[in-house]
């Protein structure tokens, strides 16, 4: 039920180091959703997969520490080109281009000591913890921890620790139509107060739509209006997509990789069908 959709157009709305928000016009929803799902489950990133403990007298069991280490985001922008693909590197420690090594050695002499992600020493400067202040374990007096961890590329579908995004969403593009003949303006203004996103404003006694894009389509304004002067709807085949990176990859890179993976998937299925 999509109909013919042509003339795909994209406009970046917001962008910073960690997130990107963009408007996509004339795209089938199923395609955008596939790209969104791929950012979560298929775009590869680095995460610790094996930990070899040399010493661990901390209160935490080895496997608990290993699990915590796996969840630490590691910078992967350059690792994507350097390391072998997840499918070939899984359980393949012999292959030299598969694993990055990270070391940690810590001891609390007297008093307690918190071991942070920033204490990890990586043998590859391109694979580093994104945040230096993630606590791993608290050591008591005299306790020691020492291990070698190995990180590889993986995909979110295998384990969430490899998912490069903390949020990937899309929503409809809101359209709010105000019938100025029916609207009472300043004397009513019920919709202005009820809107949770502060989309509507009163300007010079008249109701105006100030921030249409941040509308969440909750339609509270429609409900509260005594004269049905306000109508909330959405544009067909246009969506606002938001991708928030965990810091492992740049947000634009995640979107690009996802669309490349989709193209490859279609190509691969096609060649599979030709057989």
């Amino acid at each position: 039920m999509l109909g013919e959709v042509t003339g795909l157009k994209i406009k970046i709305l917001e962008y910073d180091d960690r997130s990107i928000r963009f408007l996509v016009e004339n795209i089938p929803l199923a395609l955008l959703n596939a790209i969104r799902r791929l950012t979560i489950s298929d775009v590869p990133s680095m995460a610790i997969d094996y930990v070899y403990f040399i010493e661990n007298s901390s209160p935490l069991y080895d496997e608990i520490v290993a699990h915590r280490l796996g969840l630490i985001p590691l910078t992967s922008d350059r690792a994507l080109e350097k390391y072998g693909p997840p499918e070939e590197c899984r359980d393949n420690e012999e292959r030299p281009d598969c694993y990055a090594r990270l070391y940690l050695e810590a001891e609390a002499s007297d008093g307690t000591k918190v071991v942070y992600s920033g204490d990890l020493v990586s043998d590859d400067e391109d694979v580093q913890p994104v945040y230096k202040n993630i606590p791993i374990v608290v050591l008591g007096p005299g306790q020691k921890i020492s291990f070698e961890a190995r990180a590889r590329l993986g995909r979110g579908r295998e384990h969430a620790k490899w998912s490069p995004v903390s949020a990937a969403t899309h929503k409809y593009v809101p359209q709010i139509i105000v019938n100025s003949e029916k609207c009472y303006g300043e004397s009513c203004a019920k919709c202005v107060n009820v809107c949770p996103k502060n989309v509507l404003k009163i300007k010079d006694g008249r109701l105006v739509v100030e921030d249409e894009l941040s509308c969440s389509l909750c339609r509270q304004c429609e409900k509260v209006c005594p004269t049905d002067a306000i109508l909330v709807s959405w544009k067909p085949n246009s969506y606002i997509m938001y991708v928030e990176s965990t810091g492992v990859l740049r947000p634009e890179r995640i979107v690009l990789e996802a669309s490349r993976i989709l193209e490859e998937k279609a190509e691969q299925l096609l060649s599979e069908l030709e057989k």
Partner: protein, 100 residues
């Protein structure tokens, strides 16, 4: 990734198992194929959430071959995602250019 096993192949009916794929590609194929002329039925199912395989069924009224419709759909997915990427790169460099 994406090994295909053909379960049924007739001119008007096609059923295949795609290994290691999920709703991501299943929903996309179905939504794009259902509008194609000649298609009478198209659906996908995942029999068990822990078994990574996808089953796609496609039926036509005989005016087109079921396999040809599926190939056309996959070509459309490939072209659309390429178009998306090129447009994204263009929009992104435009945004960066404005900022500078």
């Amino acid at each position: 990734m994406g090994k295909i096993e053909v379960k049924k192949l007739e001119d008007t009916e096609l059923e295949l198992i795609i290994h290691d794929e999920d709703h991501t590609i299943g929903n996309l194929i179905v939504k794009l194929a259902e509008d194609k002329p000649g298609v009478t039925y198209v659906a996908y199912r995942i029999e068990h959430p822990l078994i990574p395989r996808l089953i796609v069924t496609l039926m036509t009224d005989g005016s087109v071959k079921a396999l040809d419709v599926l190939k056309e759909t996959l070509r459309e997915i490939r072209d659309l995602s390429r178009q998306f990427r090129e447009e994204f790169i263009r929009a992104f460099s435009e945004y960066e250019g404005k900022k500078a």
